[in-house]
């Protein structure tokens, strides 16, 4: 990890409290959370459902403002707007059904006002990189869920972001497709040299992809531990067969299990069952 200057992104004391708009008053959803994301680093975040994972990502992206604390991207504060250089892939299908695959991928580039030649070159490259060559002229409705998510990833990729945020991008996909999509994301990460923050509820996915795995507590989410995996940059989904993978996964589950039970409201059983 490079040690010079500011980190690619920094969350300092970030807290999010939602006003529910009814008698319950407010919900403390997240934090305080601190996180430094180094240039070129791949960090995954796991946590029990409802712990504020998505809120964490949206705060870092500038889609929501923190109630307390600060967010910075490349040393500049993120204030209520998504800075250029941050690309986001959402959990839900965000393909635009009225555009072809090719035009979906070109969507952001056209907004950025690039020359037509440059747009064509970048989109054509992304189409082949993501294996969408046969579907460039197809509409999203003609594609499977996994293919549509690749379109969304390609649409982010062509913008050449320096920080890529992925919010459970494979949540709706089956296990096998998820592992293969994980390989794609690793390939993309090596190719772009971007920093990546990926939110997931799947521990295996979190361990396989990351340089560091952040474990969030039950709501309000706080980092319990940031686990270094020590994987080489050349890793792939084959890593799941290694002994270290099993050890890391077991360690993370031992930490997460208690939090997951808290999230289910089974606090009593947590204390009885012990660590």
């Amino acid at each position: 990890m490079p040690a010079t200057g500011d980190p690619r992104a920094r969350l300092s004391g970030v807290t999010k409290v939602f006003d529910t708009g009814n008698r319950q008053g407010t919900v403390h959803a997240l934090g305080p959370v601190d996180l430094d994301l180094a240039a070129g680093e791949f960090v995954t975040v796991v946590g029990p459902s409802g712990c504020g994972k998505t809120t964490l990502l949206e705060t870092l992206a500038g889609l929501t403002s923190p109630s307390a604390g600060t967010v910075a991207f490349e040393g500049k504060p993120v204030l209520g707007k998504v800075p250029r250089g941050i690309g986001i892939v959402f959990q839900e299908d965000a393909s635009l059904p009225w555009l072809t695959v090719w035009d979906n991928i070109a969507f952001g580039l056209r907004r950025a006002g690039l020359a037509a030649d440059e747009i064509r070159a970048r989109v054509d490259y992304a189409v082949s990189f993501m294996g969408l060559g046969a579907f460039a002229a197809a509409y999203p409705a003609q594609l499977s869920g996994g293919m549509r998510q690749r379109v969304c990833i390609a649409r982010t990729l062509v913008l050449q972001p320096r920080l890529i945020l992925l919010d459970e991008p494979f949540g709706a996909l089956d296990q096998q497709t998820r592992l293969l999509m994980g390989d794609e994301v690793l390939r993309l990460w090596r190719e772009t040299k971007a920093s990546v923050l990926l939110i997931t509820h799947a521990i295996d996915e979190a361990v396989m992809l990351a340089d560091r795995v952040g474990i969030l507590s039950a709501r309000p989410g706080r980092f319990i531990e940031l686990v270094e995996t020590g994987w080489p940059a050349s890793r792939s989904s084959r890593i799941v067969a290694e002994e270290a993978f099993g050890r890391l996964t077991a360690h993370i589950w031992s930490k997460l299990r208690v939090e997951a039970m808290k999230a289910l409201g089974r606090v009593g059983e947590v204390s009885r069952a012990g660590p």
Partner: protein, 250 residues
Amino acid sequence: MSRVARAQLAVVCGFFAVLELLTRAGAIGPLTMIPPSAMAARLWTMLMDGEINAAMAQTFANVAIAFALSVGLGFAAGLTIHGLPRLRRLFDPLLASYYAVPFFVFYPLLIALFGLNRWPLVAIGLVFGAAAMVIATLNGLDRVPPVLRKLARAHGLGRAQAILLVVLPAAAPHLFTGLKLSLAYSFIGVIAGEFILSGSGLGHAIADAYDSFDNPTMYALMLFVVALAISLNAALHVWEQRMMARRSRR
């Protein structure tokens, strides 16, 4: 042509064939209804002689103005109401019961307000058509997936750009429904208005033929108005199908 379309065409043609047989055979008397072929023949001479050109020009212009205003104002109102939740809570029940109000009873009031000219007719077409567009716009905007709004922000789009490039295309299927209903309602409003209290236009021509026992003219005009309304709606339908074909799995 698909099998369904062929079957639909057969139903329509069959209906007219039966009507033709019944009227020719005398099972339906000539004072009640004339044969469809006679309606068509009368309509043809009317169109050729230019008898109803003035009425057509007036009615079409009124419908066109009422439709354009319905869509424009209805859409703008829908967009505004959707953006202001408090206003929305106020308007939702009113919109839900809107078509329960028999607006034609206000036609005399509209004449008093605007005078005996085209504007009371346009107003009644507008009153009829606009609410459908407001409701369709609200429906469409409600059903834009939140993730697409986030996507717009993630791409740094401003409010106007987000509406133009993401929200409107996403809401388009519902807006189209509004377009079709607005056209139908504007048409109904204008023709019915002419029928009741106007001195000109196609609606008035039908009422006039009725009053003077001119069955051929009355039926010819009815056929014309019905055929026209259906054709316009069919044209919009074809356009809509072309657009939607891409969006749905085939």
